[in-house]
Symmetry: C2
Subunit: 447 residues, 2 copies
Amino acid sequence: MDKEEMIALINDGSIDISKLKILLSDMNTVDIAEILAELEKEKIIQIFRILPTAIASDVFAYMDSDYQQLIIEVHTDTEIGEIMNKLFVDDAVDFIEEMPANVVKRVLNNVMPEKRKLINQILQYPEDSAGSIMTTEYVDLREDAKVREAFDTIRATGLNKETIYNCYVIRRDRLLVGVISAKTLLLAKPHELIEDIMDSNLVFAYTHDDREVIADQFKKYNLLAMPVVDKEQRLVGIITVDDIVDVIVEENTEDIEKMAALVPSDETYLKTSVFHHAKNRFLWMLILMLSATITGSIISSFENGLMVLPILMSFIPILMNTGGIAGSQSSTLIVRGMAVGEIGLGDILIILWKELRVGILCGFGLGIVNFLRVFIINKHDWMLCLTVTLSLFCTILMAKTVGGILPILAKRLKIDPAIMSAPLLTTIVDAVSLIIYFSFAKLFFHL
Amino acid sequence: MDKEEMIALINDGSIDISKLKILLSDMNTVDIAEILAELEKEKIIQIFRILPTAIASDVFAYMDSDYQQLIIEVHTDTEIGEIMNKLFVDDAVDFIEEMPANVVKRVLNNVMPEKRKLINQILQYPEDSAGSIMTTEYVDLREDAKVREAFDTIRATGLNKETIYNCYVIRRDRLLVGVISAKTLLLAKPHELIEDIMDSNLVFAYTHDDREVIADQFKKYNLLAMPVVDKEQRLVGIITVDDIVDVIVEENTEDIEKMAALVPSDETYLKTSVFHHAKNRFLWMLILMLSATITGSIISSFENGLMVLPILMSFIPILMNTGGIAGSQSSTLIVRGMAVGEIGLGDILIILWKELRVGILCGFGLGIVNFLRVFIINKHDWMLCLTVTLSLFCTILMAKTVGGILPILAKRLKIDPAIMSAPLLTTIVDAVSLIIYFSFAKLFFHL
């Protein structure tokens, strides 16, 4: 039975509860959460109650915060305690961060004290820090333990741990000294010492490290998990790759939004209110509108020339649009190149030289097309052809080089390069292209 | 010693080879590959030769293709065979895909026949398919085996397998029937049967599935690995999360490039030649240049009006730029929302209604600012204020709604929404905003 069928059957009440229970217990918890999201409120509560306890908290972790709140509100304190105690600490934190204060209070009151302490601890780390995305469920082994003892530790504690594929080796004072994979353990002999087979060459993070930097390390070293330590290098948690995948997607969304002159938002499009959408977009629209005044006044200053030769007006959009796209193509490539770590601050001259040549090639190609077009449409007006084509060529050359080096300059000035590209680049390219155009017009037509 | 120091010491030859050997054997292979990339050619070869054989092929896998080729060229056939036989099949395929034909031939001739077959098999899958990113190194267990036997299988075969954290359960005919994590195995009793403890609720891919769809599944189900089957559902390989992280980053880059009116490229910025850069950018620049002719001819058609009231010209950039940014903000949000799976084709009316209201709010806010600005600068010219402000308001409203629904319409027509946003949106917004502007001007000034 596929998801759609199942949702229909549940919604019209034509499925037997005991049969449903069997069907659900065989499904992936992510899919169950997805089905619940499609049901009516009363049905959600009803179905959630029949879920086997072993999977209920897993399903809960995958639900949207609106539905999580709905479920919490209809459950007793004891039931809430049961769900919460089975949740991984990082999932519990994600959930609590989205809840209103009264729900948070009720939830924390019903969690085991030990877990409450861990949750509170993670809640205190700054947003976007390693601490805020870590989990405290991991297996730690003592360096002087034997492989045999390590397996006993894993069996005794492993069931509640988020990942046991990497175990972290600590000293008596909890100082992190190494890592050992389940693979190494499985392939080792029972009497071997952990410190002899562990990998002491560790990639780790501090609790206050930025999550974007950590994501880059995951990418670079192909990690499944990374240990997190406090200032004294004592192990306090781990970050797992599934959370890093989310970080990568979110950071990419943020970069894309910044490049499109939007204030990045943590919420998704549909969940953001109209007012917040307007707020996130208003500032950059305002800046671009005001900066376009510069372009407007350049046109005004050439008013006399345009009155003598009004045909010149009709080429303004071609110059501005072609220049705009030429510049944004270059700046996008550089911003992205810096984001994925390919391009560094030292590459500015390489980029300048490359963009200059790309600009010449593109400018030359488009120049030819433009020349022919103007020549044919405007009845062989050589001077007009020359003015427009030369302006176009210079505009493209200028837009490509400015678009290429502006993001690097921004980064050097510690400004986010993604933010620079849209407003500043547009303003520069528009203004300079018009100045170029009117200068050529003055020269060739003696205006 | 940090990386920079080490590179300096190696380059000026002031470090003892035996000391270097010890230092390197303690480092992460990714870091070693990074150090090699900074050295002179002769040094790269020299250092690579002193690497312990256990890590040499790992370092090789992380090197850039230029350096890989350099190393292959100076090694004997036997040595090449040794490196290749230690490489994971997916890393070997990645490497071979970048090599010129003569190197490929030499490499394949020196690989063990078994491995050569696997490499050739993966090379045949279409680019961007599951088959092309899978590896054939995995642990498969028979459903009728016991946990004890499973551990023996893992110990016997595990060392060369890319991941043993998930073992895949197959029937006698290699039909994939379940998955079992190392965690479950570790926590199970030795005499239990695999089929009793395995998870038969599988997320798997077919060899020809698109890698972007698979990446979405990894995100949705928080997977570490996914089995790949052929048409008959027989297990042929697995995809691991580290390769999926690369896929996500690459697909995001592709989306960003498309939104910036670039033909997406597999190569990085610095590695792409000037000619290819120009080629990837030329087409959309040409299309935008030609489509700007429409805008130009709209201006021409209103030439008489502009001659009577030349001040109108100076507001054209404000309308076009503000409209442009208003539209691209909306389309970017929708394109991204569709890419991360939040927005579907059915949401078109919700989006229309939302963008309409966002447009009213933004248009109203910017309208007020604009009204005041024009009113102050243009000496209380009420009619001019009204013309520009009303045009601005309508332009923003139009740009927001068009920007919001255009990506959805594109998707409905099976066109990539990311590609639509830049050229088509710009053309529509530019043209319509000018028509609005000139209509109001005609109305208020009786031009």
